[in-house]
Amino acid sequence: MTFDSRLDALARKNPVRTQGMNRRQFLAAAAAAATAACSPGEDKAREIALLTWDAYADPRLLNLWRQQTGGSIRYEIHVSDPTSVNRLRAGETAVWDFVNLNNPWARKQLWPAGLIRDLPRERFEPLYAEMFEKFAPPYHWAMSEDGEHLLGVVQRFETFDFVVNSDVISPALAKDEGWDIFNNPDFKDRYGILAYEDWNVMDICMGAGIHPFRDKSEDDYAAFERTARQWIQNAKLITTDFAQLNLAIINGEIDAYFTGGTYSISSARLEGISNLYAVTPNSGPADGKGGINWIELNSAVANPNPADETLDFLEWITKPEPAYIIANGNGNLQPVSQMSQPEVLSRFTPEQLDALQWDEFQERIANAVEYDIVPGYDRLYDIYSAAIRERS
């Protein structure tokens, strides 16, 4: 008799009539339980480990996965994209199954370094057909440089530029002025910097009139240095905590901050603080655009002990219910690529869409270039970090 059928038989017995198990039955059930616990178990899903941004660690998502598949998930939330890349480089591929990072990392760092594995295209490319049109397969950022390998599944995406207090600075003016707002010396001590430093470098390029994703001339580096010194020196505060910057706006300490966007303010807007306003400039030096659009790519880590469940999870998160949870994971609202489907979009309340500034979403995306690796980043970052060190 198998363990399951023995349990079933025990459950069907009337405990009042049979007065429970006898010793032999008990020992047989215990032995069956021990055998089941020790054996690999064909239908027991392996726990998968996520190295992720917080939306994928939402308890509702983890519970839903458990309910629907019986599998369990453990996770750790990123400190930053590069820190997690470091961890994988340092040998943690054996620890993690899933990683989600901004688009260039997978294509230009993780895949060439052998830190992620490719996905079966016949299984995952149809998922791209159910997303917004810009993700039509083969989607550039989801593919390896040679165009042969699919590196992940696109889900959350948005622009990330700057935030203003709309009671003080009109959003229309901010969009027109764009990055020049921070070039204005009168704005000294009226803004903060969210120290997502790779983003800061790109923003300073924009402010200096340089396309961040094109090769730079010596004049470009000089312009970048001038702008970096001015912006960093004139900032009221610099922090890695966007809640601190939102509070500084609410308390009137500052009127704006970069880098910022719906990622940093949507949860506060949902609480009713609607004067926190995400701005993507109407124009700028990047092919006429001033905004930057990040796209998160969910990938399977090149774990030496790969789990099939990782691929199942990557497919499962694109379904309407998980996608909706991810879009407002841990209270942090962000658009997902599946919002092109009415079945997903209809799940959002008007308040949630307002918190996302959804009416301007397409405009923001249209005014932004896609996040990319910055040519000359090392030199630009050294200039940026030197300006940070000189701040006093």
């Binding site: 505060l237 609410i250 308390n251 300490e253 006093s392």
Partner: protein, 282 residues
């Protein structure tokens, strides 16, 4: 004799292995990384001093100096605050002293970041706890020290005060009451009692507390980030930048080795002067 030595070695073996794996090996790896070419990740035999040249020549002295100044000021302020506190707690040992000690010790069990965020909420202008309360209760409007050097220093003192106080309390417990009373009977004034009896006897405790405080403050970053608005960059932050956004582990490793060297230069001479045996046997 040989048997007791074997027994001692057996007792010390687990700790030695732990220190080897958790302390010596990582430092050796970091030291090795500091000699490989900048912005590379692979161990190689192509060793260079270029990272040390960058660490010294590229303006990193400034964050190191800010960290050292912050650590020194914090240590001095904590010693000045902890001295009378420890003396009072030692002299009036009893129920109230125990409660006071507990109140000082309790925050250690709460995450440092949480405490600092709490302090930033207290100091915040407008709707902050201090400014908002003064405005609501007395109609007084005040500014804020948040996002200044002073706020960061306040945070450093707030976080590291217990690390000075408790070793100093231990130091005060080494001062025999009779000796103070005898000094007083012989006509010694307060200053003389302090200089001749209290200071020499509490010095080991004060030195241990000061060392804890200095070393921890030298490596502190959260105070400058959460309360100081990163008005200056401290060395820990500069190291973090090299390891993360710059993807430049070798320079990060060279900076780390420099900080370890500075710490060693401060710690070892002080440790040599402390009679740990006497302090511990108490």
């Amino acid at each position: 004799m040989a048997q007791s030595r074997t027994r001692l070695l057996a007792v010390l073996l687990p700790l030695s292995l732990l220190l080897l794996a958790g302390f010596v090996v990582p430092i050796v790896i970091v030291a090795f990384y500091s000699f490989i070419p900048p912005r590379s990740f692979e161990f190689s035999s192509d060793l260079t001093l270029q990272n040390y040249a960058s660490a010294i020549g590229d303006g990193y002295w400034r964050p190191l100096l800010w960290s050292a100044i912050g650590a020194l000021l914090t240590t001095i302020i904590c010693l000045l605050l902890a001295w009378p506190t420890a003396k009072a707690l030692d002299r009036f040992a009893g129920r109230w002293a125990q409660i006071a000690t507990l109140l000082i010790a309790l925050p250690i069990f709460i995450s440092e970041s949480v405490r600092l965020i709490g302090l930033s909420l207290f100091l915040m202008p407008g709707g902050g706890i201090l400014a908002g309360s003064l405005d609501a209760l007395f109609g007084v409007s005040i500014g804020t020290i948040l996002n200044t050097h002073l706020a960061a220093l306040l945070g450093l003192v707030y976080v590291h005060f217990p690390f000075v106080l408790f070793p100093l309390l231990l130091g005060f417990s080494l001062v025999p009451r009779e000796q103070i009373e005898a000094g007083r009977d012989l006509g010694a004034g307060r200053w003389q009692l302090f200089r001749e009896i209290e200071l020499p006897l509490t010095a080991p405790g004060a030195a241990v507390g000061a060392l804890f405080c200095f070393v921890l403050s030298l490596g502190a970053n959260a105070e400058m980030t959460i309360l100081g608005g990163q008005v200056v960059t401290v060395i820990t932050r500069a190291i973090e930048q090299r390891f993360s956004y710059a993807q430049d582990w070798p320079l990060g490793a060279a900076l780390t080795m420099l900080v370890i060297a500075v710490t060693a230069i401060v710690v070892f001479p002080v440790l040599k002067r402390i009679d740990m045996e006497r302090l511990l046997k108490r």
